[in-house]
Amino acid sequence: MPLMNVLQAVNETLKQEMRRDDRVVVFGEDVGHEGGVFRATVDLQKEFGKDRCMDTPLAESGIVGVGIGMGLNGLIPVVEIQFMGFVYPAFNQIITHVARMRNRSRGRYTVPMTIRMPYGGGIRALEHHSESTEALFAHIPGLKVVVPSTPYDTKGLLASAIRDEDPVIFLEPKRIYRAFKQEVPEEEYLIPIGKAKVVKEGEDITIISWGASMREVLKATEMAEGKGIYPEVIDLRTIAPIDRETVIQSVKKTGRVLIVHEAPKTGGVGGELISIINEKAFLHLEAPPSRLTGFDTVFPLPKGEHHYIPSPERILKKITETVNYLT
């Protein structure tokens, strides 16, 4: 099996899907000739031509809005927003049309689009290049939101997203684009959207996270194990709709929860998870479900970045506090 990093998995999956279904088209700023600023779409134009992989004018509302039209007329658009921080000009198209075309037309029209975006902090980038605003999308009825954390999952989830007849927001944690490699099967496989993954079994506490933070969570988990605390670790993978079953099953076992995300605390996805857990596993809770997240601040420029992203040490501290609560 070939070894791949997340970026290569994106690239391979795009190729695979474009080969499989010639309705799949890929476009965005610099994705064509250049192959994308991260090279996620490299070689696509060479293999599939300028009618399947296109450079676009510098206009995000256009990228999404035009993508809607293409989806309505027989194509399967996979568009790239260069960085998540630049998706906001497209918000109107996403909220008022992408998420609503099926419902508005009672099923006559659908938008089978995938919107890919590099996302999250940790690459010492300029302003607007580090944010994690998955919660904004997760609140919009009609959108699915997916975040892989490994090369293997990237392939299976991206293929599912592209094949999904409904729109999918596909967030690519750029901090781990090239961070590590994994064996990724050459043949096609799908990982279902809406299913979380228990990455590690444990008894003492359930840790829920997604995307790049999974790495810090797993490091913290190792450190915790060194202290005799055995967390169960869930990679949420799909932010909307949340796989409540997997979450609840775990919490019922452990009784304690820590949610780790990079987005600001207030209004983040952590809040929704805690509410679900209250609704479905209240009597199993032995400690208040806790959150370790980004601050309620703008993501700092690189000189302050290390303060912002939850570190293994901070995660460990929260684990310990939550596990030691009233014991």
């Binding site: 509302s61 809005g65 035009v66 809607i68 007329n73 419902n103 409904d166």
Partner: protein, 362 residues
């Protein structure tokens, strides 16, 4: 032909038939037989009668907010008739005439304004998008549909509708620019009806015409008399033909006037004078064509009345249908979020149904 001769910077409106229904540019008159001429006229009359009835029902409290299109019939019908069945129409929300011209039944239109999503379930085989409320956003879809058509060599053309106000939105510029870059077969049909709610055209942009905005995107632009159905038809027809032949997009400004209110919630006397409205009534697109048809011996007063009555009847029947069948099914609120309901949606629906059952309502 007309585009090659036309320079939007000269600010000369393209006209074929004047306000008296006289053909002032006979060499440009489209080659239409009696049947086709009457079809045009009938559609305009149907638009007007369907509109009038909607307003009436609205005033009776039987229909919700409604956006009348009185005065814009020629712009809508003339442009929509330039399309083939294979082509797409991407509307804003005031395009009753174009909807009818595309073969959508009055039932559907009324159902929409009755507050029921099924009014947007365009029948299979008719390539019309649902009403798009966010101003100018639909232009992007029109470019995408057209681009997809070009990439798939489908030969479809896309006509998209918007108002003078829409030209101020970012999406207008983006869509026009994109269409220019990829030479998509898109016709940008602006109904300049002189107002965006209360804001007059002159406060919307300092550009002397909407047509000249085409220059910013490297595409042809033309200002046509929007109340002259022949001018509209010819200008759109030629743009459609060029688009179909790979000649790219066109911006058409149909210079017209909204004679009625913006919507039924609006009181236009707050922002414009009776004189202005009266002056525009003299340019009425239907009167104008009627004069033409009668002069040509293609229509009598009697026939005219019969046509109107026919469409009044259709409108009344349609509304009866809607009042009898216009309620929604609870499930439908949940069923169309995704291809399949998520567990969350199922649970929420179930919980709500349980509540209704508890009250003996379900």
């Amino acid at each position: 032909m007309i585009y090659e001769d036309y320079n939007p910077m000269k600010k000369k409106m393209f006209q074929i038939m004047n306000e008296e229904g006289e053909i002032i540019q006979p060499q440009l008159m489209p080659d239409l037989g009696k049947e086709e001429l009457l079809k045009m006229y009938r559609l305009m009359v149907q638009t007007r009668e369907t509109d009038k009835k909607a307003l009436l029902y609205q005033r009776q409290g039987r229909m919700l907010t409604y956006a009348p299109n009185l005065g814009q019939e020629a712009a809508q019908v003339g442009s929509a008739l330039s399309l083939g069945k294979e082509d797409w129409m991407v509307p804003a929300f005031r395009e009753l005439g174009a909807w009818l011209a595309r073969g959508i039944e009055v039932n559907m239109v009324y159902l929409y304004w009755y507050g029921n999503e099924y009014g947007s379930k365009v029948p299979e085989g008719i390539k019309v998008l649902p009403v798009s409320v966010p101003i100018a956003s639909q232009l992007q879809h029109a470019v995408g549909i057209a681009w997809a058509s070009k990439l798939q060599e489908k030969d479809e053309v896309v006509m998209t509708y918007f108002g003078d106000g829409a030209t101020s939105q970012g999406d207008f510029g983006e869509a026009m620019n994109w269409a220019g870059v990829y030479q998509t077969p898109t016709i940008f049909f602006c109904q300049n009806n002189q107002f965006a709610i209360s804001v007059p055209r002159g406060s919307q942009t300092a550009s002397e015409t909407i047509a000249q905005k085409s220059i910013a995107y490297g595409m042809p632009g033309i200002q046509v008399d929007g109340n002259d159905i022949f001018a509209v038809y010819v200008a759109t027809k030629e743009a459609v033909k060029r688009a179909r032949n790979g000649g790219g997009p066109t911006l058409i400004e149909a210079f017209t006037y909204r004679l009625g209110a913006h919507t039924t919630s609006d009181d236009p006397t707050r922002y414009r004078s009776d004189q202005e409205v009266e002056a525009w009534k003299k340019k009425d697109p239907i009167d104008r064509m009627k004069k033409y048809l009668m002069r040509e011996g293609l229509l009598t007063e009697e026939e005219d009345e019969k046509i109107a009555q026919e469409y009044i009847n259709i409108a009344e029947d349609a509304f009866k249908y809607v009042e009898a069948n216009g309620e929604i099914e609870l499930e439908d609120i949940f069923k169309y979020q995704f291809k399949e309901m998520t567990p969350q949606l199922k649970e929420q629906l179930e919980e709500y149904k349980e509540f209704l059952r508890g009250r003996g309502e379900a």
